[in-house]
Symmetry: C4
Subunit: 496 residues, 4 copies
């Protein structure tokens, strides 16, 4: 057995010409690989000759180096005691403030709804991680519309229904669920929590909800499957690789490991450009004023991790998927009724109406609006029972879930809220978030007068304003500035 | 006669194993009762061995202990001089600021409308009491919509009508009313005023308006009835107890005591979860960080006081009510026209279109909107004269009352505004609030061109926008931040 | 000739039992009159035995005492040198700040639009005067809607029309006007300017526009007529007195003096309650905390000056007016198409669609909306040429005037803006305001492609949204507070 | 050769009676010309006897003096060493702050979208230049509506389309364009950048986009043409001069120089009044309080430079234009479908739906709305292929371009954003802005499922709300002020 490498040896390879990096105590020669690195050369060179573990971890599943770097470049273990300790820079003022915020963060018991987790996460997460999770496409209009659209749906509750016992369990793709939501796929879980997506797996297990495993997880697929326990159900979310052999391998592996649904992402031929994410990563020092605007280093994490996705994926590929798996196939990211009908004709088992959390095309409509457009057409065509329809985006309250089910959805996906709960409070946070939804669900099923999800139907909602997208006449600033608003009675002046 | 108990004796019973408390100078053994306490054990244990009167009073009618605690547990009077005086903690800074605000509160004569009382109450009430009164379900959207909806109804006034004499008196369920509103049922009046609901009774008497007596009053039912004077009319609001014998006793007692209407609450099979209320009660000290999130102690007052309500109440129960009372029966909390029609078919005398002040199901529609949906259908079916229709929620101006009557309501219920007026200024405040409504009513009857309430009809209002629930395109923040708004001419610089 | 009274003598009569006051150097015995004073006794008693001129002037036309106080109570001139000079109280801090604002007020040439005058007036007027002019009914919704409604009307301009010469002169009730607006009637001009309404008369003369003379002017009717010069046209606005002989005297006098139109106010059987006005007058010192809420002294100026108005005025009175005058009769304050039709059937010459500047019934619709409702019905009935239709309320831009004319109005009334211009800059201000409207008018006639007012027609405007009165879903505060808005690039940190 | 003039000699001619000015080292006698100066006499007199170059440059193309001042008034070169150096006034505090902002302005690489350039330009431009570029008519409602209207158009994207290769090149008036926008005509480029419009020319060349050359450029027409390189395409924007011979000369010259389209401006018979522009120029010192309000010196740049425009231009002139040029003729500023149809009947080759960037008639509708009104009518009449339709106003995102093309536009004009990019970062800024649009375009073509611009069609957009112009019920200030909004959990108090 060869002697271990020393930090001094590795440190010599600190340039484009010869670039070694240390990850988890092992050295790798990435000189040749660098130009192909989806995240760009620059970030690798920053760590040339040094330990890159902290930067590496959130972005890469642990099996990444095995999968993508030829074995010959694996240089073996390093004697970490010889690696020059990076004198940890004194925390920046921003980081000190963040640590202070973490020390004083609210107790978990003070979180009463899903927005509360987001509020806490915003305070305690690193700016770049927050930027990645919270950002969306262009002006982030669609992201916010996703939530706002639910608020244009109002209830028409029934009264005097015996709701002593309410049961909001259901099935999705044949699997029992305690409540009609699932944990949808979201990328880079380790940005929020050191353990990554397995935290979500464990919480989902506790609450009897399905988890959709993301292609772009920080944990490896197998880690996430291993974290589950029967009868827990998992589905696979798939970005289709340009190399269909890789795709096939992934699908077949997932089926073997017991995944019970294949969700093919169809709304992301290219991953979105998210300006908040870009801005959160902008590093003034790293930008050379002299060198102009050449590099793309500020494009954010989304681009870096997604270069393999095939923008050529089309309807013609669907039969091939049907030929390689027996898992139900669901198209994730359908955005208009015409394509729902087409999906049914192609024989898929389900669709997710979704705009990818507003992260792809700004001004894509909300899923709940597309659902309201879709179901009457399907009923007209007699197709309403031919697929299961899911929606995701903007779900934060049990009332949102109820609205979706009234309008014909089988279930809803929830993503970011669980990431925020996890980032702020770990597994306990995710479980609390799920429990809050169950509490709200029980209450609101009673209040709307429904004993089971089968009782949820379109007559219970008023959607007259759902399709409305006005934005009003621009503000009349002069009139506003001269208007003297009415005020409540002032306090009296204390006598001194 | 046994010697009086001493404080020292009582103080020994300060644990789960033996728990005595003092209320109004008498000791009670609550050891066995504690686990069944609707408000949880924790709050009782806090006062174990001590005087709990201050905490007890607002939440419990005075006859509570007689009703719910076996006589054997009534330990008799305590010599209060022997009870260790709680060294009143120095007032917290928050409390000192509140007392300062009370000292400088506006004169009653500075209140010109019902919102003004709310503004003053917000300043001078204890945070927890304000939290209980002002909170509503989930995001409190429905609570605010209740008021906002009235503002989507506009007037089409008639001119050149002789309005020298206007008369806005009316009848409801056969009783004369000076003005078409009644004091609707609201819980826990002693949170706002030491005397509780009887304050409202006295003010109602002065102004010739009906009062609906709440099940969850701080005063006992009989206290409230005793505070009335003929020909004052009172109605009974009823939460139906799981134990129908208790319900029957309450109804029969009310009828005997002269109540002239039975308002069965049908929109609250379970009382709402109100986050502002919960947050106002959160006590950092009381939460053990170590013990996690186990207790439900922060659920607020609503849950504590309502566990007896029967979520199994259904249409099937209505004939039974009709069999036990001759009072007119009115369903309170109807929320869609289908159920109004059903109520008529069941032979009830009235319905209150209501969403419980927004405290139950968020995104329930406003009563005024449901009214606009309901009346054309009833007219179509020839049922418009078969019931009296009331509405409540969001009424703050006489114009709101007029709008409701134009659209077909017989009268409107007003709740919170009187609680706020009472909390800020006691009975004088409530009377002033009622007087303001009368002043506005006289003025606005004239201005709309109506001599009597019989003249109020649908042609006087424009409801084209009432059903509209848009919320607009999410804000275009970048565009807003770059726009340089027009400004009025600046002041010139003084020459120094 | 009797010796002049001395200040000392007058000062003795300083109580309810004997109350003398000095106005413009003459003494009056108002002991008996006091109880009938429309503004209440209290205000008179404040000046008992003293000089009341400053308080008296803005509220009362100079002929008031002659008209309403019996000659026997006119005590004759006072030797003013013997009247104790009120040691003018040191100016209050508020007044000092106002004087400072006056010193630094913008130059007239810095006012570019009508809102600018309002902005300056708000800074330099006394709070009570501002309160009277700027206030409106209840929540002042209608007042602001009046302006907002114009902004829901959009243009469909014609291009390639020869607009070298544009001519926006017109006629109203047969009188030539340089531009299609008139100065509408507004009360209490001396609150804004020491000379009162004659300032408006002179400016109107300079610009060739009609003035409507208000019943409630600070100047006497004759003063205002005297300030005019041929061929200047004036109309009379009339509040109808309960005593029809007084009314008849006023009308006949006006006709004799050359008034060319009689505008009978029909939207004010009682003058509005305006809370901002009331609050501006509230005087903490003057309110006795002990004495409770007895007096009505804070009701503002509107009530004080309007108790003579007849709320019994009705359609039946119209023929009588037609019998006593040959002036064209116009109903001012019509608010729905049914009443326009009725007015035509009654044979009047015109109507003013108006809600009294939002000062009467809140939630009355804007005149421009009522106009859009009215004209299609009149055209359908073939009545569109049977009356001249005017509108007022919210007009601030020439585009507003153009919109009204496109929709069928003959002209528009403008009130408050001229009061503000007068209050800030006197006659020069009013003239500048009128000139700005002419400048805008010329420009915008060109830009819309109209050579004369005859070219203005409905095809030039888009009114699809005019009738819309949504107010949106109440704010989603939690979602707003957690959203992290996009921001523009920050400045770089300076190197120190 | 005559001896050069000296500064002393020129300085003698410093009055209305004899007024010489120096521009670019040469003296001119402008005594007789002054009264005709479109910008007024005052500004010339300010520089009488002195060097006026700095003030002259941005407003006048370099050939102005040759064109408009008789040769006899060209006095020849001045020995600039003899001209008294204006002791540059110490920079004002405002200017010092601006210079500080310039020093710390963001790097170009921090600009991620077109709004970012506007944000930077607002910080670093001179107030008067910013005022000229950013201002619009009246309340600037239309200017902002232009952008807002796009946000009422939502997408209905297609999925599973092979978008590996997307091609968004197109043709306009026969010319190839890399992307479907052109640089539209904007005035006074030197206010933003010392080199003026040629900066835009060079950037347009780099990105393969067409430039429309403005009549009111700071550079001369020939300078702008000279800055172009084949195969770069340029069009001519034309304000039609009252003197048609001048117009003809301009058109023929442009055609000779290779311009490929003649865009006749039809929405500006008179240039707009822009209050922000006027206010930015207001100079307190320059206004004589004594002299009243006589001069028009604060009317801003727009009026000064546009007095030659013919307000008599009409449809009758179109055949004449067709007779003097073979360039395609496009009417710029069409604002309703009736005029589009008329334009087609007149045989022009195109129209630009435009409201002149909101700078002319406030409440003109947005071009995208007029487009949505126009195309269905043209299709109905079978005219949709008879003209090329362009739109401008408010375009900031590639999604805006896509929306316009889906609705039937051939291309869109973009103006201000490039001025802002130029003002902040020069040519590099303009190029970056164009590159950002290309990046967004590629992404969004993929995301909407379109391979080429031919795939963009009305089914891809939802325009149901485009025509909606509500502005809501005025704010309910009292209710707002009493509402206690929900809040997220607070931070815990640090233990000290």
């Amino acid at each position: 057995m060869a002697p271990m490498l020393t930090g001094t040896e590795v440190a010599k390879h600190d340039s484009k010409d010869s670039c070694w990096v240390i990850v988890h105590g092992k050295a790798y020669d990435v000189t040749e690989f660098m130009p192909e690195h989806p995240g760009g050369m620059k970030i690798i060179l920053k760590y040339a000759g040094r330990d890159a573990t902290d930067e590496f971890d959130p972005i890469h599943p642990p099996d990444t180096l095995d999968k993508y770097l030829d074995k010959s470049k694996h240089l073996g273990p390093v004697d970490m005691s010889t690696v020059a300790q990076e004198s940890k820079e004194a925390a920046s003022p921003e980081e000190s403030e963040r640590q202070e915020r973490i020390r004083n963060m609210p107790l978990l018991s003070q979180c009463y709804n899903l927005m509360d987790f987001e509020a806490v996460a915003r305070r305690v997460m690193k700016k770049t991680a927050w930027g990645y999770y919270s950002s969306a496409a262009d002006d982030e209009i669609t992201m916010r519309e996703n939530k706002a659209a639910f608020q244009r749906v109002w209830f028409r509750p029934r009264i005097l229904v015996d709701v002593e016992k309410v049961d909001f369990s259901t099935t999705m793709l044949g699997a029992r669920c305690d409540i009609p939501f699932y944990v949808t796929a979201t990328a880079l879980g380790k940005l929020g929590h050191a353990e990554g997506e397995v935290v979500l797996t464990r919480a989902a297990r506790r609450h009897g909800v399905v988890q959709m495993i993301p292609t772009l997880a920080s944990c490896s697929f197998d880690e996430i499957v291993d974290a589950a326990e029967a009868p827990q159900v998992q589905w696979l979310q798939l970005y289709v690789n340009k190399d269909r052999r890789i795709t096939q391998r992934i699908v077949e592996h997932a089926e073997r490991r017991g995944c019970r649904g294949l969700f093919i992402t169809v709304d992301a031929p290219q991953l979105g450009r998210r300006e908040k994410d870009m801005r959160s990563k902008f590093d003034e020092q790293g930008s050379s004023v002299q060198s102009g605007d050449a590099t793309d280093n500020s494009q954010g994490a989304a681009r870096a991790i997604s270069s393999f996705i095939d923008p050529g994926l089309s309807w013609k590929d669907i039969p091939w998927f049907q030929s390689i798996t027996k898992m139900p196939i669901i198209l994730k990211g359908v955005q208009r009724v015409e394509d729902v009908v087409k999906a049914i004709e192609m024989g898929v088992q389900g669709v997710v109406l979704s705009n990818h959390g507003g992260r792809q095309l700004d001004f894509a409509r909300s899923a709940i609006e597309v659902l309201a457009e879709t179901m009457p057409v399907l009923r007209e065509l007699g197709l309403e029972n031919r697929v299961e329809i899911f929606i995701d985006g903007g779900v934060r309250r049990a009332t949102d879930i109820i609205k979706a089910l009234c309008l014909g959805a089988k279930g809803v996906g929830i993503g970011r809220p669980f990431l925020y709960a996890m980032s702020a409070y770990g597994q306990a946070g995710v479980e609390k978030a799920m429990q809050l939804l169950k509490d709200e669900m029980e209450m609101n099923m009673r209040l709307i007068g429904a004993q089971t999800v089968a009782d949820l139907n379109p007559s219970l909602v008023d959607v007259k304003s759902l399709l409305s997208h006005g934005n009003g006449v621009p503000a009349d600033n002069l009139a506003r500035s001269v208007y003297d608003p009415l005020a409540n009675p002032p306090q009296r002046q204390s006598k001194l």
